[in-house]
């Protein structure tokens, strides 16, 4: 009481808080500052710079001998001081890039379909499992993510090789007479990409299912719905928003596929992500490399936009 009165008195006497006190409401933003500066300095700024690079004129040639010192005639990775959309136009009109773009989308769709078909039943099984089995299954799902990605991919290379475990098993069982080519083609690419993504997909769907109100299932069955009817009319539709998040993660990740096509694919099955370093480092064409990177970014943003549209217009009940 006494202190409050004293403060009031001080204010009446023209007491003014110092700058330190006046800024007090903004101190909470200091908590954001370390991460914020990190994102601005190492993500936003380079990204903007990369966008600028994609709008420079490219040197237009490839091979050795270019990329000399900056400022030299014929040097640099792009023509400084220029503004042009030529890189984008070239990528969209050149059949070479068109094929890569189409394949990237096709591959992403294939990977997403396979991943979702494998992930949803697995997630549902985990959701239904008893507490102990649930923990074991979740650990099994996360385990591959704890190992190095390259170890996983090279391991797969060995497993799927002509004299690998899979082929030996197929031969042993008499399913095939000679080894099937499983590696350096679409099979090995898809298998590895699915394996890299699926833990996240399963975890997101499992979390979604656990977030559903179990009394809704009780209510449905109490009203005469069989377990199957309950799943298809209540559990599955209610899991869709979260399942779409899982799908979003999967498709965005699949669009950026790099390791699988680079290590387990072949030159005919290349994606945009592989093309970026190829243009940038092999052709020393930073402008085109940057433009490809931004086209990938646009594709992923488009997927996110479509996702938002589906949520807002197709699922009005979430409002």
């Amino acid at each position: 009481m006494a202190t409050a009165a004293a403060t009031a008195l001080q204010e009446e006497d023209g007491y003014r808080a110092g700058w330190f006190e006046r800024l007090a409401p903004y101190y909470k933003y200091l908590l954001l500052a370390p991460m914020g500066l990190m994102l601005i300095g190492f993500f936003a700024w380079p990204l903007l710079w990369l966008f600028r690079v994609s709008l420079y004129e490219s040197r237009g040639s490839s091979g050795f001998g270019i990329g000399g010192a900056k400022g030299q005639e014929g040097g640099g990775f792009y023509v400084e001081g220029t503004w042009t959309l030529d890189n984008y136009i070239r990528i969209f009109s050149d059949e070479y890039f068109q094929d890569i773009m189409i394949f990237t989308v096709e591959f992403a769709i294939l990977v997403t379909i396979v991943t979702m078909l494998l992930a949803y039943p697995m997630a549902y099984y985990i959701y239904k499992a008893g507490p102990r089995l649930k923990v074991i299954l979740l650990i099994l799902v996360i385990l591959p993510k704890l190992s190095n990605m390259l170890v996983l991919v090279y391991g797969l290379q060995i497993l799927l090789a002509n004299n690998g475990l899979v082929n030996e098993l197929l031969l042993l069982l008499g399913i095939v007479d000679e080894p099937v080519k499983l590696v350096y083609n679409l099979v090995s690419m898809t298998v590895s990409k699915v394996l890299l993504i699926i833990p996240y997909t399963i975890l997101v769907i499992t979390a979604t299912l656990h977030g559903l109100d179990p009394t809704l299932r009780d209510a449905a069955q109490g009203m005469g719905a069989s377990p199957a009817e309950t799943f298809f009319s209540v559990t599955f539709p209610l899991s869709l928003p979260g399942t779409f998040v899982a799908l979003l993660i999967t498709i965005v990740w699949a669009l950026g596929a790099f390791v699988s096509p680079a290590l387990l694919g072949n030159p005919d099955l290349q994606t945009l992500a592989v093309e970026v370093p190829k243009q940038t480092f092999e052709n020393v064409n930073w402008a085109v490399g940057s433009a490809i990177a931004f086209i990938m970014l646009a594709m992923m943003s488009l997927v996110v936009l479509i996702y938002n549209w589906i949520l807002s217009s197709r699922m009005p009940w979430r409002a």
């Binding site: 209510a219 069955q221 109490g222 009203m223």
Partner: protein, 363 residues
């Protein structure tokens, strides 16, 4: 009502969770069109009993019989029961109309008939204009009505209500109480209602079953369980009461005199089931105690005392009275149409009550 066969029979039902006994040999019969309340404090086993009737739990022993059919092993989707949950459990992704049609759809009712019957049920709960809304767009009271319409639409054998009004505010709860009772009468559906709210039970029930610690203590009409509780817990759980312990000193005809701890003597009517020396718990409801400035005539128990505390409750005043020459506090309530309490703290008065209003429970 009682001459017809019961729709629901709960026979010696016990439910154990591990070593804990949630429900202990409960037997209960509910008749056609009856509104039965299961009431008790939290953890008394009332909800578990309800869930066993609904098929959400399996009894450890005993039988649940609905329309002469033992239901213990019948899965819940094969029982014709309507359960309203405390959280309503409406399907958030379906409109009100689709929610109400759900139980008809699972029964294979044709689309056009489904539509008409759902409309009829929504009309009954006065929600016919909101059929295209989603549950998230409804108020608490409206959700409650959808939850009701959703089960009465398929005409279940029994309606089960699990604290259906607990999530509503006081005012709405009072309104819904009347509406629910009216609706139940209109539809004529056999109903079991679980609550811990004694006011709800007393005002709405045909019969009340009081449970405590997994045991069923007493079943009876509201006035039976309120006026003639057969158990000390029932007496204290339903309504306010002042209880004393005492020993029977003498018995004359159907009147007994009881010496209460603290040096008080109370006379009560009895059913020829007490004899001298018995130990009894004596209860008197505050509203059965009359208070006056002068000693009343022709009243059996009269005690002089001093007002120790006055609780003003608007419609009535509740006095805590210190009885002269003994260590006993008595509660008395006085209706106050004038809006003012007659006595104040320290007032001298006489508290009296008729011997018929004394409730005794043998220990």
């Amino acid at each position: 009502m009682t001459e017809s066969e019961p729709v629901l029979k709960v026979v010696e039902v016990t439910k154990e969770f591990g070593s804990a006994v949630a429900v202990n040999k409960v037997s209960l019969e509910v008749y056609d069109g009856e509104f039965l309340f299961l009431i008790g404090p939290s953890g008394c086993g009332k909800t578990t009993t309800l869930r066993m009737i609904g098929g959400y739990e399996t009894p450890t022993s005993g039988e649940i019989i609905i329309r002469d059919r033992v239901m213990n092993n019948v899965p819940l989707d094969k029982r014709n029961i309507g359960m309203v949950f405390q959280s309503y459990a409406l399907f958030p992704h379906m409109t009100v109309q689709k929610n109400v049609e759900f139980g008809l759809k699972t029964r294979g009712v044709r689309k056009s008939e489904r539509h008409d019957r759902a409309r009829e049920a929504l009309r009954l709960v006065e929600l016919e204009k909101l059929e295209d809304r989603f549950p998230s767009q409804l108020s608490g009271g409206q959700r409650q009505r959808v939850a009701l319409a959703r089960v009465i639409v398929y005409e279940p054998d029994i309606l089960l209500l699990d604290e259906p009004l607990a999530n509503l505010d006081k005012r709405l709860r009072d309104v819904m109480r009347v509406e629910l009772r009216k609706l139940q009468e209109k539809v004529g559906i056999t109903t079991v209602y679980v609550t811990h709210d004694q006011e709800e039970a007393l005002s709405m029930a045909d019969r009340i079953a009081v449970m405590e610690g997994g045991n069923l203590l007493q079943v009876g009409t509201p006035s039976e369980v309120y006026n003639c509780p057969q158990d000390a817990f029932v007496a204290t759980f339903l309504g306010e009461t002042t209880s004393f312990r005492g020993d029977v000193e003498s018995v004359t005809g159907d009147i007994a005199s009881v010496a209460v701890e603290g040096g008080l003597h109370v006379i009560t009517r009895h059913n020829h089931d007490v004899s001298t020396g018995d130990r009894l718990t004596i209860s008197i409801r505050p509203e059965r105690v009359q208070i006056s400035e002068t000693p009343p005539e022709q009243v059996d128990n009269v005690l002089p005392g001093t007002v120790d505390f006055v609780e003003y409750l608007g419609a009535h005043a509740l006095y805590l009275i210190r009885v002269d020459n003994c260590d006993i506090m008595l509660q008395a309530s006085e209706p106050i149409p004038s809006g003012k309490a007659t006595f104040s703290k320290g007032s001298r008065l006489f508290a009296s009550w008729n011997l018929d209003h004394v409730v005794y429970i043998r220990e």
